[in-house]
Amino acid sequence: MEFLQIEHLSKIYGKGDTAVHALNDISFTVPRGQMCAVIGPSGSGKSTLLHILGGVDKPTSGKVWLDGQDVYAQSAKRLAIFRRRQVGLIYQFYNLIPVLNAEENITLPLIMDGRKPDRDELLKMLDLLGLIERRRHLPSQLSGGQQQRVSIGRALFSSPAVILADEPTGNLDSQNSAEIIALLRKSNREFEQTMLIITHDENIALQCDRILALADGKIVSDSMTGV
């Protein structure tokens, strides 16, 4: 069994003639350590797919297996722990906790898990993210790029097996975008993390190992980039 395996996944919003098929019976696998770009027009089901893989939305039908474990066969509590330990989610609009500073936001999944963050690791991460000087700042005191770096730091810090990024550079300028993608690539290489990145940016997609194209809730193309 592959590290990430998706079987006949469907997601339908609404009922009867008002039903909307966000995902329509899709199946694919992703090996460990692969960096995969998910592309497609708006409404093609990219975000829905990512959210289902991350355990934050439920599929209407189908299964998601991660490292041999059926994600949606777990209880609510186990699912939360799964998200905490196995998944790092990065959103386009960062979704940081506004009352916590950069450092606290990054260490939050560990704290929630009852673990004490390693101080050296944290400083290393902050250094990698370029946030050493800003680590005590609240999200509202940071720029968009810095907020996204905090968000990436939060996703990476607990060393999850999968990183799911929903247009992580969609809200950033080109310089910041390049830095963020470089950061993700580095993490992918160093820690052999599996990554799925939703993007509209062709350059970013081409930096990934594989490109999955979605349209109307179906996979319309699946190709390796040869990076």
């Binding site: 934050v56 939360a80 799964f82 998200r83 979704n95 704290i111």
Partner: protein, 784 residues
């Protein structure tokens, strides 16, 4: 717990305004419960103390020896045993106060009798036994009383809980997305709930003590406010008031209020947390609904208000549960407000009419009713018991029984009184059979005559006085049953005549009569001599009672309006009205020479001289033969009591309105906050602020309109049910309040709805205005 408490603290600091508002909501809710509990413990405390003051014992054993008394005081459960010597000088009454529950009183007393050989009757102070829960029975009664009180409190508890609930809802609504993010990065549902409950604990740690202090302060304020109205003086004299009337702040009640407050906050926080975790995290983060709803194409609102109406209507249908909940909450509040204020208003009117009073002709009562002596030489004494069970004995008038005119003249001349109305009243019947119709015969003075007919006199008073004729007054049906022939009416009238008889002559006259017949036929002073107030012996006289047929000339009839009272009852009384000068000049001779006096009704010439008027009456025993009815004082006291009750009831009504308003504000403002992004999107699409406000107005109108219709129907249903209940229970007499007209609460509902509309509008516009301060891009992203 560290992470939850860290976030809870940070959220409270970050949302200071919400935190303060929530603490305020908790404080107000706890304060109201403390106030209600303190009112209850004060009222029950005063009643308990008054019961103890009147009968300072739980059980009074009538007859014990001194030794037995000492033995009793050493028994279990005895707090104190006070012995008071009985008039026989040998035995004592033992006033026992228990210090704890004795279970079954009868068993306890039987055991006491057996153990100490006490053979005595005893008396139980049931009220005190109940308040102190001394017996099983008393404890049960007290439990029933407390249960009833807590049922009353539950209503407030639920309403106030809603207030705290919605305060939490508002504060959590703004963070719902963050909770979604927390869940998406691994926070378990339990942890999210713990953040909320932790916040609740921190808020209640501030809110409950503040609320308790506020509640005590409010209780002191209400207590002094009620005392200032003088309501306590209607129950106690000054000395007793000082001794018995004081605020009872029960620590147990305070504890109960604090515990209620704590559980409120906990359950509100817990409930809010549970609601937050119900939705999938991504739904909370994106604010996307999990289902697609079909919407109605046409609605009344879209017809009335165009596209804004259509949007408002669709918004309501989009979240039917929320819409129904808001309308339901408003409906309940409106119904409660209208029904409670209507019932209270109706009760007040009823009490006003019943206790402030009107005379039998429906005219307002007078300030004083002064019993003026028949003549100044008659005397009143309560030293001797009257054989005919009168409260006093009377001297036979040496003159005619018409000397009251002097007293009336004196009252008139003293200057304290005005509008003196008086009448000599007698009773007649049409025949001597069982089917006889009774007729009240009134000899009235001119003032009384004018008041009675309110200017629509069938015969002028002067003509009536000169002719000696009478006016027959009554409603159409009973009047038609009175046998008036050739303008005359013959009635059998009771007569009372005195005669100078010796003891021997009296005994000879009554020797063939039984004791009862002798009493019925008249009276003779007892063998023991009687003395007047100057110590002089009263000459014995015989007072003969009889009846006589008297023919009255009828000068005219006055048919009273044939209107049934509110229960459909008709007054069937018949009155024969004659001029008082006729009685004074000639007619008194027909009825005999016995009369105690006449009641002179009068008003105070100047309210400021009330005390002087009372002093005048108190120092004029030559004028007055019995107790003066001081209706002025009674009325003032009743009004004061009513004012106090009114203050209390208005406070309660205001409380209901306030709770309803706060709940509405919270519900509506949460609804607006929920749609923050949507409003921003609408504005991005070109909606002006004016159009947005218009949309909000239509939405508020929608809430209040539906609620007003539902509340009106509910109120009508309640009145109908009450009417049916009253008819079913035959509670339709003059001593029960009349049923309320359907229009009364309905009007109140619509007035309150108009106020609610303004409140909801305010609750919508304020958060909307605040949202405008943020850039549209921020709003649409809903980031913070």
């Amino acid at each position: 717990m560290k992470f939850e408490s860290l976030l809870a603290r940070r959220y409270l600091i970050a949302q200071r305004r919400h935190a303060v508002l929530t603490v305020c909501a908790i404080s107000i809710a706890v304060a109201v419960i403390v106030l209600i509990c303190t009112c209850f413990s004060t009222i029950t405390g005063i009643i308990r103390d008054a019961a103890l003051d009147q009968q300072p014992y739980h059980v009074l054993v009538y007859s014990v020896t001194e030794a037995q008394g000492k033995q009793i005081s050493q028994l279990n459960h005895i707090g104190s045993c006070t012995l008071t010597e009985n008039p026989d000088g040998k035995t004592y009454s033992a006033a026992i106060l228990f210090d704890s529950n004795i279970g079954n009183l009868n068993e306890y007393m039987q055991n006491m009798e057996r153990a100490w050989k006490i053979r005595s009757e005893y008396e139980v102070n049931d009220e005190l036994v109940m308040f102190d829960a001394i017996t099983f029975d008393g404890g049960y009664k007290r439990a029933v009383m407390f249960t009833l009180f807590f049922i009353f409190v539950i209503f407030f508890v639920l309403a106030l809980r809603m207030m705290i609930d919605t305060a939490f809802e508002v504060s959590s609504k703004e963070r719902e997305r963050q909770f979604g993010v927390l869940q998406s990065i691994g926070a378990t549902p339990k942890q999210i709930v713990r953040i909320m409950t932790h916040e609740g604990l921190l808020l209640s740690a501030a809110g409950i003590p503040i609320g308790t202090v506020l509640g005590i302060g409010l209780s002191v304020l209400v207590y002094h406010g009620v005392l200032a109205t003088g309501v306590a003086e209607t129950f106690f004299d000054h000395e007793k008031m000082q001794q018995l009337v004081h605020l009872h702040v029960s620590p147990m009640m305070l504890l109960a209020a604090a515990v209620i407050g704590f559980f409120w906050v906990f359950f509100s926080a817990y409930g809010t947390g549970m609601r937050v975790i119900k939705k999938p995290p991504i739904q909370v983060i994106t604010g996307r609904s999990k289902s697609v709803k079909r919407v109605k194409k046409h609605s009344l609102l879209s017809l009335l208000f165009g596209w804004t109406g259509k949007l408002a209507s669709r918004n309501a249908r989009r979240e039917p549960k929320r819409f129904a909940m808001t309308v339901f909450a408003l409906t309940v509040s409106l119904t409660l407000f209208a029904s409670v204020s209507t019932v209270f208003g109706s009760l007040q009117d009823f009490v006003q009419v019943t206790f402030v009073g009107r005379d039998s002709f429906g005219k307002p009562e007078w300030d004083f009713s002064v019993p003026v002596r028949m003549n100044p030489n008659a005397f009143h004494s309560d030293k001797h018991e009257d054989p005919l069970s009168h409260s006093a004995t009377f001297q036979r008038s040496p003159e005619s029984p018409t000397a009251y005119a002097e007293g009336v003249a004196e009252l008139e001349q003293c200057g304290y009184f005005k509008d003196l109305d008086y009448s000599i009243s007698l009773m007649g019947k049409t025949d001597d059979t069982n089917n006889a119709k009774y007729v009240y015969i009134y000899y009235v003075n001119e003032g009384s005559y004018n008041t009675m007919f309110e200017g629509k006199m069938p015969v002028p008073f002067g003509e009536l006085a000169n002719s000696g004729k009478a006016v027959l007054v009554g409603r159409k049906q009973p009047l038609s049953e009175i046998p008036v022939e050739s303008d005359t009416l013959t009635l059998t009238v009771r007569t009372q005549q005195t005669a100078d008889l010796t003891q021997a002559e009296y005994q000879a006259l009554t020797k063939d009569l039984t004791e009862q017949e002798r009493k019925n036929s008249g009276k003779y002073p007892q063998e023991e001599k009687q003395y007047d107030e100057n110590g002089e012996e009263i000459a014995p006289f015989y007072w003969q009672v009889g009846q006589k047929e008297i023919c009255y000339d009828i000068a005219g009839e006055y048919v009273m309006p044939d209107e049934p009272d509110q229960f459909g009852h008709y007054l069937n009384s018949i009155y024969l009205i004659l001029a008082e000068p006729c009685y004074r000049d000639t007619d008194w001779k027909q009825y005999g020479d016995v009369s105690f006096g006449i009641e002179v009704n009068c008003n105070l010439a100047d309210g400021a001289e009330y005390m002087k008027a009372v002093q005048y009456l108190q120092t004029s025993p030559h004028l007055i033969y019995d107790e003066v009815m001081d209706i002025y004082r009674y009325r003032q006291r009743t009004r004061t009591a009513l004012a106090a009750v009114s203050v209390g009831l208005n406070f309660l009504t205001a409380l209901i309105a306030m709770i309803a308003a706060v709940n509405m504000i919270n519900i509506v403002s949460t609804g607006i906050l929920n749609r923050k992004r949507e409003f921003a999107a609408l504005q991005c699409s070109g909606m002006t602020r004016g159009q947005m406000y218009r949309l909000t107005v239509v939405e508020c109108l929608q809430f209040t309109l539906w609620a007003a219709i539902a509340a009106s129907l509910l109120c009508c249903l309640l009145i109908y049910a009450t009417k049916q209940f009253m008819i079913g229970m035959t509670l339709t007499g003059a001593d029960t309040p009349p049923p309320v007209a359907y229009s009364v609460p309905v009007l109140k509902v619509w007035l309150a709805s108009a106020a609610a509309f303004l409140v909801t509008l305010l609750a919508s516009l304020l958060p909307l205005r605040r949202m405008q301060e943020e850039p549209l891009a921020e709003q649409i992203r809903a980031t913070e």
